[in-house]
């Protein structure tokens, strides 16, 4: 099949060699990537690049020189085996030294045999890198609850997985991917990267698919997927149904189970076990807590008893002292009471003494009083009598009482009582006082006897 390049009129133009090679290369570039199938021969590997020949078969003479370098070389180095049937992807190119080659960008094994051989080689390669070593693999977290599930929404795998997972509070986030075909590898690696970037708190990733032949499992045997799994920060569990050998994904995964159902059972049992363990530990915790409390109680009780004993001892020590103190206190108190009683009696006696003395005095006083009274009364009576006597005497001596008997007294005008005639003369007026009233008389005659 010949694709005709644009017709340019070069009949008059003469190239230099360099111009010519450049011209040819520019022309070849327009072909872009082309695929050629064949057997690998004459491999010459250097550090960063390799050359090999591609032939239709060993017997045929036609040869295409191939050149591979850089990342491409590192990716496909395991396929560069003599006799390996492959399809190479590359761009044709002429070197300045004049020979023609294909610059290879991709190599795929061709046919089951080659695939198996390639797979074996890839496994060897990855093994050398240490990808399969258990030390490299991540421990699954003890508590798995949130799961990032990578599988096809339409496959049987997801049904099996969900059915067997049971209802234990798992939270499953699904990213549906193609699990076979050309896009599978890209979608699966993208899903792993997406979960790592956007759901970094998930407990684990689960990558599953149902069974299939080696062709169908191509994506799971890819070196790129292996790299992605190895670099994933989230642990990855695989459950890829297959007949015999494990896929590379299985070999690099942190945990590998044979089928989606097995993964589900594993997770479920782990969780059940965990729940049971938690319950058991909870019980043990309670038991040990109770035991601790009991022990503490016993300790406290012991302390209490010890304390009581200690206090008792202290009391015992001071007890006799206290008893004797109490007794002497009692004794002195009773002494005090006794002496008080005595004093009281004394005081009483004294008071009785005073009282009787007082009574005596009072009695004496009464007598004296009566005597005084009597004496006084006598004296008074005496005076009275005397007075009465004097009074009667005086009355009897009242000169005017004589008048009552008819006597009278005569006075001169000067008020002198007339006892002698010489006191008056004829013609004098005399005043005669009677018992009642007075008489003025003129003297007519005087007789001297």
């Amino acid at each position: 099949m010949t694709k005709k390049p644009n017709k340019i009129d070069l009949s008059d133009y003469i190239f230099s060699v360099e111009e010519f090679i450049e011209f040819i290369n520019n022309y070849l570039k327009q072909l872009s990537t082309i695929k050629v199938k064949g057997e690998i021969n004459d491999v010459s590997e250097k550090k960063y690049y390799a050359f090999f020949d591609l032939k239709d078969s060993e017997e045929k003479d036609h040869v295409v020189r191939c050149f591979i370098s850089g990342q491409n070389y590192r990716d496909y180095t395991h396929l560069l085996k003599e006799g390996m049937k492959v399809v190479v992807y590359g761009i044709p190119n002429v070197y300045k030294k004049g020979y023609f080659s294909l610059r290879i960008s991709k190599i795929n094994p061709k046919g089951e045999g080659s695939w198996k051989q390639a797979l074996k080689a890839l496994k060897e390669k990855l093994k050398k890198k240490g990808y399969f070593k258990d030390e490299r693999k991540q421990e699954l977290p003890q508590f798995i609850k949130t799961i990032g599930l990578i599988t096809s929404r339409d496959g049987a795998a997801i049904t099996d997985f969900r059915r067997n997972l049971g209802n234990h509070g798992f939270k499953v986030k699904l990213l549906s991917v193609k699990v076979e075909g050309d896009k599978a590898e890209k979608e699966i690696t993208s899903a792993i990267k997406w979960f790592n970037k956007n759901k970094p708190n998930l407990d684990t990733l689960v990558l599953i698919r149902g069974g299939g032949g080696y062709e169908n499992l191509k994506a799971f045997n890819s070196e790129k997927l292996a790299e992605t799994i190895v670099t994933s920060k989230l642990p990855i569990i695989t459950g890829i149904g297959h007949e015999k050998d494990e896929s590379i994904a299985d070999l690099v995964a942190d945990r590998t189970l044979s089928t989606p159902t097995a993964v589900a059972n594993f997770l479920r049992k782990r969780r059940e076990h965990l729940l049971a363990q938690i319950q058991k530990e909870q019980q043990q915790l309670f038991l040990s807590f109770e035991r601790n409390i009991r022990e503490e109680k016993e300790k406290i009780e012991t302390y209490r008893k010890e304390m009581e004993t200690a206090v008792d001892k202290i009391f015992q020590k001071d007890r006799f002292k206290m008893i004797s103190l109490a007794q002497s206190l009692k004794q002195s108190l009773s002494n005090l009471i006794h002496s008080f009683e005595k004093s009281k009696q004394k005081l009483k006696d004294l008071l009785y003494g005073y009282q009787s003395k007082f009574q005596n005095k009072k009695h004496k006083f009464g007598i004296i009083k009566e005597q005084i009274e009597l004496k006084f009364k006598d004296k008074l009576k005496e005076k009275k009598n005397k007075l009465d006597l004097l009074d009667s005497k005086l009355n009897s001596l009242n000169p005017e009482t004589i008048l009552n008997r008819g006597y009278s007294i005569s006075y001169t005008e000067d008020g002198e009582s007339i006892k002698n005639t010489n006191q008056v003369k004829k013609g004098d007026t005399i005043i005669t006082k009677l018992s009642k009233g007075k008489i003025n008389s003129l003297i007519k005659k005087i007789k001297n006897e």
Binding site: L380, K383, L387, L390, K393, L394
Partner: protein, 67 residues
């Protein structure tokens, strides 16, 4: 008023009575003395009465105190 005063008054009264018993005494003098004697008697009686009252009062006070 004192006991001495009463005593004096009684003595004076006694003297007056004696003087009045003397027959030599003239009427005017006797009447004067008599009047003096009467006033002394009145005076003595009232004195005696006062003393008696005082005594009774004191006696009463004393009895009240003693009881």
């Amino acid at each position: 008023m004192s006991k001495e005063n009463l005593q004096k008054s009684l003595e004076e009264l006694e003297k007056i009575v004696k003087e009045l018993e003397d027959e030599d005494i003239n009427v005017e003098e006797s009447l004067r003395k008599f009047k003096k004697g009467v006033s002394l008697i009145k005076d003595c009686r009232s004195k005696l009465e006062g003393i008696e009252n005082d005594f009774e009062e004191l006696k009463k006070e004393l009895e009240e105190e003693t009881n």
